[in-house]
């Protein structure tokens, strides 16, 4: 069965500093990996995904993530955080060989960016 771990409940960062949100996964077979962001009282919005190809993927709002197969990680990064990046971030995994179609979400990481 597939699973996702987001080890930090909350990440605090000052505006302008780099932001990293951690995610590790477990699947049998090749993973499809995703990051979503949720603002208060809103639905989840897609940020970026890794399916295949370059391990570094770039997404919306200046976010990027690096797929690391050996460490089974897919950490989300942003070089310079904005106050408006404060939100709940979810990592998700899916796999064509493990529970196909079931996007398994992590527990979420609350990002707080202070001015």
């Amino acid at each position: 069965a597939q699973s996702v771990a987001q080890p930090e409940d909350q990440v605090n960062v000052a505006e302008g500093n780099p932001l990293t949100v951690k995610c590790t996964y477990s699947v049998s077979g090749n993973p499809y990996l995703f990051w979503y962001v949720q603002y208060p009282n809103r639905g989840l919005q897609f940020l970026l995904k890794y399916i295949t190809g370059d391990n570094l993927v770039k997404g919306s709002y200046g976010f990027e993530a690096e797929f690391n197969k050996s460490q089974t990680s897919f950490h989300l990064k942003k070089p310079s955080a904005l106050v408006s990046d404060s939100a709940l971030y979810f990592c998700a995994v899916s796999s064509p060989t493990d529970s196909w179609g079931k996007f398994q979400f992590g527990a979420g990481t609350q990002v707080v960016v202070t001015p």
């Binding site: 639905g43 989840l44 064509p96 079931k102 996007f103 979400f105 979420g108």
Partner: protein, 113 residues
């Protein structure tokens, strides 16, 4: 135009009642989902339909019954509501079962008193 729309956005009801949540997507997607987000923000898949066919049915009480009249609509009916059903229910769609990201609706917050 809203891509994935859910109604109602808020629903407050008494235990034992029956209620429905409707979802429509105008993206032309083949696959639709229902997710439940609990008070700790944990997201759990409930159901998925692909071209009106049920393809994922997680361990959900049979009081929950999805229905897809066509591939643009996926409704969720809940019978005999319980306190533990209080949550935010999200509808989502994707181009297909094997193609990428989910597009979420804004959620329907159900409160059972």
């Amino acid at each position: 135009d809203t891509a994935v729309s859910q109604t109602p956005k808020y629903l407050v009801t008494q235990m034992g009642n029956d209620k429905s949540i409707k979802c429509e997507q105008n993206l032309g997607h083949d696959t639709m989902y229902w997710y439940k987000q609990d008070s700790k923000k944990f997201l759990k898949i409930m159901f998925s339909y692909n071209n009106k066919e049920l393809i994922i049915n997680e361990t959900v009480p049979n009081r929950f019954s999805p229905k897809s009249p066509d591939k643009a609509h996926l409704n969720l009916h809940i019978n005999s509501l319980e306190l533990g059903d209080s949550a935010v229910y999200f509808c989502a769609s994707s181009p297909g079962i094997d193609t990428g990201e989910l597009f979420f609706g804004e959620g329907s917050r159900l409160t059972v008193l």
